[in-house]
């Protein structure tokens, strides 16, 4: 099914430009053409399909579903809903306040906020299509666990005092809204709007990531990674996680880099750790969270994720070796 994209890349690289697709610039260009075509087609189709399905899943609804549950249900529900519910990072602050206001514990709220950007169904489907479903399944499973663990640690440390004071004072009104806005036509409009909005927002990141993937693919010899990023180098995983923090990416955008690194023989744990770090921790996201979290909590939160991602990396490098 995806062969058509390979054929397209063959055509452009070999037939039109007469390059060698096995090495150097030809290989980089082949990777770039194939991935740009494949990922943008996939991205548009998947965002549209998901938009049709999740039309009615809003953060307000998630809040109702999680609120008032006991912890055994609240944590899995939080990471599960976090994984499937879309929200733009500009809604992080109202979402955080809304959850706490509904007396959802801080740990559960943070679990939702970790899982939401990290596991995003669009990225997971693209990861499955480009790299393989096993890696995608691993990514989802460990992502859910990391979300729960991060939430539980924050709960046990009793960090509520590091939430900005004004957050506790806000009283929310009852949302009585928009339930009438249903119907097939609306659903299609919503799904199409999602395609325009999401693709419009992340295309540049995806393009840059494909460019990085292409350069890795064409110009960096596999021996380089075999020397520096092999499973026996204990620093490879933490360095991968650190490298992912400043990278403001989107989980979907990380896929081409993941693809290129795996093809060069970088161990799967190291690559998963990098992808989680790119998706879940970023500087702009931290600046937004700073509005509701005081610095100690923000630092602890980032620290927990750093340790968790590094752990995931070591674990899979060990298990899959």
């Amino acid at each position: 099914m995806f062969q058509i994209f390979t054929l397209l890349a063959d055509f452009v690289t070999v037939d039109v430009l007469g390059l060698d697709p096995a090495a150097g610039f030809g290989a980089a260009l082949h990777f770039f053409v194939e991935d740009v075509a494949k990922i943008f087609v996939l991205l548009s189709v998947i965002v549209f399909a998901i938009g049709l399905l999740r039309f009615s899943l809003t953060p307000e609804r998630s809040r109702q579903l999680i609120g008032g549950r006991n912890k055994v249900w609240a944590y899995p529900a939080a990471v599960g809903l976090g994984a499937v519910s879309p929200f733009c990072s500009c809604s992080t602050v109202p979402l955080f306040i809304g959850f706490l206001e509904a007396r959802i514990p801080l740990g559960v709220t943070m679990a939702f906020l970790v899982a939401s950007p990290m596991i995003n169904e669009i990225a997971v489907i693209i990861l499955a299509a480009v790299v393989g479903w096993k890696v995608a399944a691993l990514y989802v499973a460990t992502g859910l666990v990391v979300g729960i663990v991060a939430g539980l640690v924050i709960e046990k440390l009793r960090l509520e005092r590091f939430v900005e004071d004004y957050v506790w004072k806000i009283k929310m009104g009852e949302a009585a809204c928009c339930a009438a806005a249903r119907g097939l036509r609306r659903r299609f409009d919503y799904a199409w709007g999602q395609v325009k909005e999401i693709v419009g927002r992340i295309w540049i990141f995806v393009l840059i990531a494909i460019g990085i993937g292409a350069v890795l693919h064409g110009f960096v010899p596999a021996a380089f990674f075999a020397d520096y990023a092999n499973a026996s180098n204990p620093f490879a995983v933490p360095i991968a996680v650190l490298a992912g923090i400043p990278l403001y990416g989107n989980a979907s955008g990380a896929v081409p880099v993941v693809e290129a690194l795996l093809a060069k023989g970088v161990p799967v744990g190291t690559v998963l750790a990098l992808m989680m770090s790119i998706a879940a921790i970023s500087l702009p996201e931290m600046i937004i969270l700073r509005k509701v979290l005081r610095l100690p909590l923000l630092a602890i939160f980032t620290g927990i994720l750093f340790v968790a991602f590094t752990g995931v990396g070591y674990l899979f490098n060990f298990v899959m070796a």
Partner: protein, 78 residues
């Protein structure tokens, strides 16, 4: 006169919504004004967690996405 509030912390989508509504008001010659609300406490006061959201004369009519042109025309008429 109708007061239409656009709720949102100042992200790009919220500006898009405010501009779209202002354009419709001008086109329809409607008797309405647009007010942007960026204060988190006030936004949450309407029970809104996902922005941009729209409030017409104190009543929440939309939240979580950029509304379509038909929706905006509907609010101006009713």
């Amino acid at each position: 006169m109708k007061t239409i509030k656009v709720l949102g912390s100042g992200c790009k989508k919220c500006r898009t919504v405010a501009e779209a509504i202002e354009t419709k008001i001008a086109a329809a010659g409607a008797d309405a004004q647009v007010v942007k609300v960026t204060d988190t406490a006030e936004i949450m006061g309407y029970g809104v967690m996902s922005t941009p959201a729209v409030v017409v004369d104190g009543k929440l009519v939309h939240s979580g996405s950029v509304p379509g042109a038909a929706d905006i025309e509907g609010w101006l008429k009713s």
